[in-house]
């Protein structure tokens, strides 16, 4: 422990003035298998796309084995849910990625792309294609930041120290030894009596 931590100074005066706004929210999707869909992993706060990707790799990329990560600024999402109002602004045709959540107990995952002149048009079409879902999102492909296809995300070293299953075997063995100890002591006592 550092000296600084051992002798934390007695606080004095007011806290420094607040710096201002919170960071901006980014939504993170991870691809668990090569060529598989990108599934919703969660969200995080960052100041820009580069910082979002850096945090996403650290936080979500190390969570479970994954091959690629997408990060999306939250305002870029147009959805059928109230959280993500869809933009009706018309422009040149763009490619939109569709995400669908099938039911309450499932997570959003990526599906086909649609070319459209606005997010609202893309969303309407995506809903028409597959209406029986919980939530549909569309995001312009240009707004999705992605890791490279050959990026190393999951560390290829032994990570079992940070997983429950990394302890299952040794814990079981140690419990067996602890629980057998009285029996073992009893047995040794009996054996000693017999032998001497």
């Amino acid at each position: 422990m550092s000296k600084r931590r051992q002798n934390v100074p007695e606080p004095e005066g007011d806290l420094p003035a607040p710096v201002g706004s919170d960071l901006a929210p980014y939504v993170v999707f991870t691809q668990l298998k090569k060529d598989g869909p990108f599934v919703y992993a969660g969200w995080l706060d960052a100041v820009d796309a580069a910082m979002a990707m850096f945090f996403a790799r650290e936080h979500y990329g190390q969570d479970q084995k994954c091959t690629q990560i997408w990060t999306i600024p939250r305002p870029a999402i147009g959805g059928t849910d109230a959280d993500h109002p869809v933009s009706t602004a018309e422009g040149a045709s763009r490619t939109y990625r569709v995400f669908r959540q099938r039911g309450e107990a499932t997570v959003l995952s990526s599906a086909e792309t649609i070319d459209a002149t606005s997010a609202a048009v893309a969303l309407t079409e995506a809903v028409k294609t597959d209406p029986d879902v919980e939530v549909t999102w569309v995001v312009a492909e240009a707004d999705i930041a992605a890791t490279g296809p050959d990026d190393l995300i999951w560390r290829h070293t032994d990570q079992t120290y940070r997983l429950a299953r990394g302890y299952a075997k040794t814990v079981r063995e140690k419990w067996e030894r602890v629980r057998n100890q009285p029996a073992l002591a009893e047995y040794e006592k009996e054996e000693l009596k017999e032998a001497f």
Binding site: R5, L15, P18, G20, L44, E104, Y161, K174
Partner: protein
């Protein structure tokens, strides 16, 4: 780690709520639907959920402090890696829960500042000291164990964002608990000195872990908003009983003596005697036990615990030392860290 069971949860119906909307909300909750943060909800529910999620988030980041002190002193490289990952997980839990709270309408900076100034609280259990490696083993076994039991029931709640966060957090808690169990098993199969270290730590942590589930329930707990609205789903006393039924026999198997203790102002045990109440009822299967000292519990909540001052002073130091980073990224101001 952590959990939000002992947040002072006083939630009242607001007389101004539209009775029709309130009835619809309550029937959705009763039918097992999840409430999302943009759904209509009683004002008291929004405030109560914010208080609960914020308290939980505060607890996660303060809870990392006693364990963080031991990273440099871990007894092996694998234990050091595991403890580092565990502390990182806890701070990550804090991040996730601050996000849930932000969606309920409070900015992260306000939450961090309110924690430091004492306007909001964190879990009582983190006001106790961790003087030995045995304490680290006990925190991961007993406190993370208690946190899993509590958070599993919170994952059956009604508020969607909080429920989903609990599910995710619980996966990581399983690692914390298992590695704690491994450490306790290692100490209790070790030398007499290791066993003594573990027993002393057990004496320090057994009662804080029983208090973890919060004070005894009010008689009509089921009908009060926190349970009626499924912000929490199981009563404190019931959770405490489940914990004792699970951990008392395991502790006895390991060779621990379960003691009733007296502590000094530093949280160290000055007197102990075996808990004479502790035995299994043959008909119900439940273990009887001596109740925690609830006066101590309230004293610690009010700031009179052995480590309250130390924890908040360190949190404040971190906040002040991080200010230049916030300025740099939020206002684009170049800067240098303050001299250490």
């Amino acid at each position: 780690m952590s959990g939000s069971s002992n947040v002072g949860m006083h939630v009242d119906h607001d007389l101004h709520d539209d009775p029709e909307k309130l009835a619809e909300f309550e029937s959705r909750v009763a039918d097992g639907h999840l409430i999302e943060h943009d759904d209509w909800m009683p004002d008291a529910y929004r405030k109560g959920m914010l208080k609960m999620a914020e308290h939980h988030a505060n607890s996660e980041i303060i809870g990392a402090l006693p364990e963080g002190e031991w990273i440099t002193r871990a007894p092996s490289l694998r234990r050091k890696l595991a403890l580092t990952a565990k502390v990182q997980d806890e701070v990550g839990h804090g991040q996730m829960l601050y996000r849930v709270s932000q969606d309920l309408g409070k900015s992260r900076d306000d939450m961090l500042r309110d924690l430091i100034t004492g306007k909001t609280k964190y879990h009582n259990v983190f006001n106790y000291p961790a003087p030995t490696w045995g304490d680290i083993a006990m925190i991961q076994w007993l406190i993370d164990g208690a946190a899993i039991m509590n958070q599993k029931t919170l994952a059956d709640g009604a508020f969607g964002p909080y429920v989903r966060t609990m599910k995710r957090i619980n996966m990581e808690e399983a690692f914390h608990f298992k590695s704690g169990e491994d450490m306790v098993l290692t100490l209790m199969s070790g030398t007499p000195r290791q066993k003594k270290m573990a027993q002393d730590a057990f004496d320090r942590w057994w009662y804080p872990s029983l208090m973890f589930f919060g004070p005894p329930d009010k008689p009509d707990a089921e009908n009060l908003p926190p349970m009626k609205w499924r912000m929490k789903t199981v009563k404190n006393d019931e959770l405490r009983q489940r914990f004792v039924d699970r951990f008392a026999p395991a502790a006895l198997d390991l060779g621990f003596v379960i003691n009733v203790v007296e502590k000094d102002a530093d949280g160290l045990v000055v007197a102990k005697r075996p808990d004479e109440q502790l035995r299994q009822d043959e008909t119900t299967g439940h273990y009887a036990f001596t109740e925690p000292d609830w006066e101590e519990f309230y004293r610690v909540i009010r700031g009179g615990g052995p480590c309250n001052r130390q924890r908040l002073a360190l949190r404040r130091l971190s906040y002040e030392q991080g200010q230049w980073v916030r300025r740099a990224i939020l206002q684009g101001q170049a800067g240098l860290p303050p001299a250490a």
